[in-house]
Amino acid sequence: MIPPVSPSADRQLDPQGAVQPVDPVRRRRRRWLSGSGLVGLCVVTFWLLIALLGPLIAPHGVGAIVADDAFASMSAQFPLGSDYLGRDVLSRILYGARYTVGLALAAALLASTAGTALGLFAAVSGRWIDEVASRLLDALTCIPSKIFALVMVAAFGSSVPLLLLTAALSYLPGAYRISRSLAVNLNQMEYVQVARARGEGRIHIACVEILPNMIHPMLADFGLRFVFVVLLLSGLSFLGLGVQPPAADLGSLVRENISGLADGAPAVIMPALAIATLTIGVNLVIDSLPGRTRRITDGALR
């Protein structure tokens, strides 16, 4: 059988430099998820389930002091050891995942939706609005996200709604920038010009003509924002400025057990590893998405 001849998008340069057609079988497999992407998807699903069901399957209560000694190592009774007060680390992680995953999902959703909406709006509006919005959000980008978070916490005190808002505001400009550049390109397309000639309003053009065509890259971007928010919020909690006790997310768990580091207690490493598996999982999924979407992970900054 002769593989279909198609334009240059189907050719890749191999390491020796020759131009070769891509094996059609491999190309079809590339289209959905690669092996590492599948692993990532499993990990992400696992953490979403934990965030939903964690408290139901936790062997001990979140505040229950059950072990005789602090910083116990792993055992059959306490699979991930005990923490600085003798609480079960596994149960603490199962409860804490709800804060980490839930807060990050909400903040990333807020940042992505608002960023996409603003970007769309700027692209279909006149040059003046576009210019002003871009300048203002550029200024926000120049404040590194952790610095912005520190300023917000210092001014308003740390609370869950504030953390949500701070994280959403820090990552909104990035989502705006990507959404705007996608929308500006789509805005030049012929079908959009046809719609405009037909006399459709701006809202119709933005929502019906442009939005459906940029939804895939924006979803990948959402995944990336989620990773950034997880890292930002757990970093804040690690500094003691994030989720406040008695509530604890995974970052707070690392902080409260840091004195066990010298003994090599699993209570320090396990929550940190939990965060890392979650964020790496999301990254693997995004990276294995097909085509232009996945290039988002190349230039992104946390």
């Binding site: 404040i143 520190l150 001014a155 970093g235 090599g264 230039g299 946390r302």
Partner: protein
């Protein structure tokens, strides 16, 4: 437009952005209901003493006047008095800033060569097994929180192997061995994430050039893969690579906060965390502005390099 006017324009935009940033930082920290005088004197203060302190701190003036006053102070190098320990902010920062710059400088000197090597190698052998392995490794490294890297590094090198001390301390005149022992762990932690980030962006920048037709031409004339990438693609990727380096190094600013805290390093980021805990607003504002300035300076520098490396602009 010539290169010079383009650079001048970029500097102008950066200044304007910095002004906007200062407005944002000031309005978040200074337009609050509960003000510094109340916080400093506590619940038991009488209305008269609060009013007196407000007048002394200038809090009774309208917001835009306070902003102008603060901005003038910043520009003249005198951002006010630290509320927590009643020392000029300038002195505190003068003590800590050089230490942070040293840490960032060492981290940059270590990470840039490693990252460029990894990035260019994986671009040269793109889609090979090496490239895919490096992609998975850097992709995972980017997503790891700094405190995991730091704690694992302490666990391995300080707790298990006893090679290094867990706490970084910076003696005033360290010998070379002492210097290495004190800086190894913080620098390692900082480099972990930025190397991955920079390598990914470098790879993307080089590959973007490799897909152009002049590179195809070079391949067709029979140049070796190394020559194609190093002699043909790389010079054209200098601008994007400079951008990648600047953006990755700007990550040092945020990463330093966790690293300086976890290793007790007396730098400006840990000073800022202290300012947050004490709600010491003048100190906090000054630190935040320093970080934003550093970010803008890095991005500006990358822009200038990109413009200067473009011969189409140079020869006009």
């Amino acid at each position: 437009m010539t290169a010079m006017t383009l650079i001048a324009k970029r500097i102008g935009i950066a200044m304007l952005t910095l002004l906007l940033v200062s407005i944002v930082v000031f309005s978040i920290t200074a337009l609050l209901p509960g003000d510094a005088a109340q916080a400093a004197l506590g619940q038991s203060a009488t209305p008269e003493t609060i009013a007196a302190l407000r007048a002394q701190l200038g809090l009774d003036q309208p917001a835009h006047l306070r902003y102008l006053h603060w901005l003038m102070g910043l520009l003249s190098g005198n951002p006010g008095q630290s509320l927590a320990n009643n020392v000029p902010v300038r002195e505190l920062i003068a003590l800590r800033l050089p230490k942070s710059l040293l840490l960032a400088g060492v981290a940059a000197a270590v990470s840039v060569p490693i990252a460029l090597t990894i990035g260019i190698l994986s671009a040269m052998y793109r889609n090979s097994r090496l490239d895919r392995a490096l992609n998975l490794v850097t992709l995972s490294m980017v997503a790891v929180p700094e405190f995991l890297v730091a704690t694992v590094a302490v666990l391995i090198f300080a707790v298990r192997l006893h090679w290094l001390s867990a706490l970084s301390y910076a003696p005033d005149n360290p010998g070379i061995g002492q210097f290495l022992r004190a800086y190894a762990l913080p620098v390692m932690t900082l480099c972990f994430v930025i190397v991955a980030q920079m390598a990914r962006m470098t790879r993307a920048a080089v590959i973007d050039q490799v897909s152009r037709s002049y590179v195809e031409m070079a391949i067709l004339k029979g140049a070796s893969p190394a020559r194609v990438v190093l002699a043909h693609a790389l010079p054209n990727a200098v601008g994007p690579i400079a951008n990648a380096i600047a953006l990755s190094l700007s990550y040092l600013l945020g990463g330093a906060i966790i690293v300086e805290t976890i290793f007790n390093y007396p730098g400006i980021a840990s000073l800022m965390v202290d300012a947050v805990t004490n709600r010491d607003m003048p100190l906090l504002q000054a630190c935040a502005m320093i970080f934003c300035c550093a970010y803008l300076a890095l991005v500006l520098l990358a822009d200038v390099v990109a413009i200067a490396s473009n011969p189409r602009l140079r020869n006009q």
